[in-house]
């Protein structure tokens, strides 16, 4: 089996991902000091977080070379997660008159 050679290749990738994650962390923190407007700040911060999360998921959790069933499960997770966030957020618009969530 070409196992040992493969694993050395994988280890090189892990070092690369580690470096990328640290760089992206520095970028996130640096950008926060630039004081964008709230919407822009949210978009930038969450985009970078999404990139970092994808790197961790794809390479450390081996998702990039995973079986189809795991992708199917994660597809369900994405659907239910987004639905939950949307439904909770939408509840804000159906409050009875005069009521607020935060005093």
């Amino acid at each position: 089996m070409s196992g040992t050679h493969d694993i050395k290749e994988e280890i090189r990738k892990y070092w690369g991902v580690f470096a990328a994650l640290l760089v992206l962390t520095v970028v996130t923190v640096s950008i926060s000091y630039l004081k964008f407007g709230l919407v822009a700040a949210i978009i930038v911060a969450l985009t970078i977080a999404l990139i970092k999360g994808s790197l961790v998921a794809c390479f450390f959790m081996h998702l990039i070379s995973e079986r189809k069933l795991v992708y199917v499960i994660l597809g369900f997770v994405v659907f239910f997660f987004l639905s939950m966030m949307l439904l909770i957020y939408a509840s804000y618009f159906s409050l009875p008159g005069g009521a607020r969530y935060v005093s």
Binding site: T4, E10, L22, A49, M61, I73, L74, V77, Y101, V102
Partner: protein, 277 residues
């Protein structure tokens, strides 16, 4: 005699060994758990409107960034420990798993320091945390504390340079000493920031932001503790399985690793949401 089928070889229908399917299903439920809290955060923030404080005005961003780096490092060492088992290197596996647990404890330690700041504790001198190097630290820390930024940066850079010089020639022990020196410099600079942003008495009841901050990070910290317990078992008594069934043990490490990466993933989202936005 097989206790359970498909713990090493893959099932024909799923294409996975059972534990891998199990951990992904478990993580799916964890996504819903943290997702519910994130949704609550979104709702509370949009409901709160103008009164919502910026995370950076209450929380210590350098400390949070340091904790992010620590958790990322722990994720890397976790995957290296699995890779070491694939290479049949038990010593390397133990070293990397030990480093993972060390990073996890560092994260919790720093988190506890942060929590303490919010409950009105006096600023604790960083030298207290660095027992192993304390005799060095008193003078090193004092001189850095009373120096300007220029001196701090030069000291940090020269420590790094010294470290790199030694990495090429000497043994791992010296590598750790230099790594520790540099780490302590970073820690000390961060704690200096901490002394400027420390508040007295900001418990969960202080405002909604503190409530959601403590809930989210507290739940995350519990997950870190759970991970420490599992990894600690695998480093200690759980090790025995390597002698009898190495493939099965490697699979266990892979599964523990997937859980640990998820914990890191949650923090990667928590940090910008709470500290930076």
């Amino acid at each position: 005699m097989e206790l359970m089928p498909y713990i090493v070889e893959e099932r024909k229908d799923t294409g996975l060994f059972n534990a891998k399917l199990g951990i992904w299903l478990f993580l799916s439920s964890e996504v819903m758990l943290f997702g519910a809290l994130f949704s609550s955060y979104v709702l509370l923030r949009t409901g709160g409107g103008a009164h919502w404080p910026h995370g950076s005005s209450i929380l210590n961003v350098p400390i949070g960034a340091f904790n992010t780096a620590v958790l990322i490092a722990s994720s890397v060492t976790m995957v290296f420990s699995w890779a070491a088992l694939k290479e049949n290197n038990l010593k390397k596996f133990k070293l990397n798993l030990a480093l993972t647990i060390l990073c996890a404890f560092t994260f919790l330690f720093v988190k506890a320091y942060e929590y303490g700041q919010k409950f009105g504790e006096e600023h604790i001198h960083p030298a207290v945390f660095l027992n192993a190097y304390s005799f060095l630290w008193t003078s090193y820390v004092n001189s850095l504390l009373h120096s300007g930024w220029g001196t701090k940066i030069i000291s940090g850079a020269s420590t790094l340079a010294l470290g790199f010089l030694i990495f090429k020639k000497f043994k791992t022990a010296l590598k750790f000493i230099c790594g520790g020196l540099f780490l302590s410099f970073v820690l000390m600079t961060i704690f200096e920031f901490g002394s400027r942003t420390s508040h007295h008495y900001y418990p969960p009841s202080h405002n909604t932001f503190m409530a959601i901050y403590f809930t989210l990070t507290g739940l995350h910290a519990l997950h870190v503790i759970g991970g420490i317990i599992v990894n600690g078992y695998l480093l200690g008594p759980g090790n025995k399985l390597w002698q009898t069934d190495p493939q099965r043990f490697t699979n266990r490490i892979e599964i523990a690793g997937i859980y640990w990466h998820f914990v890191d993933l949650v923090w990667i989202f928590l940090f910008p949401v709470l500290y930076l936005l």
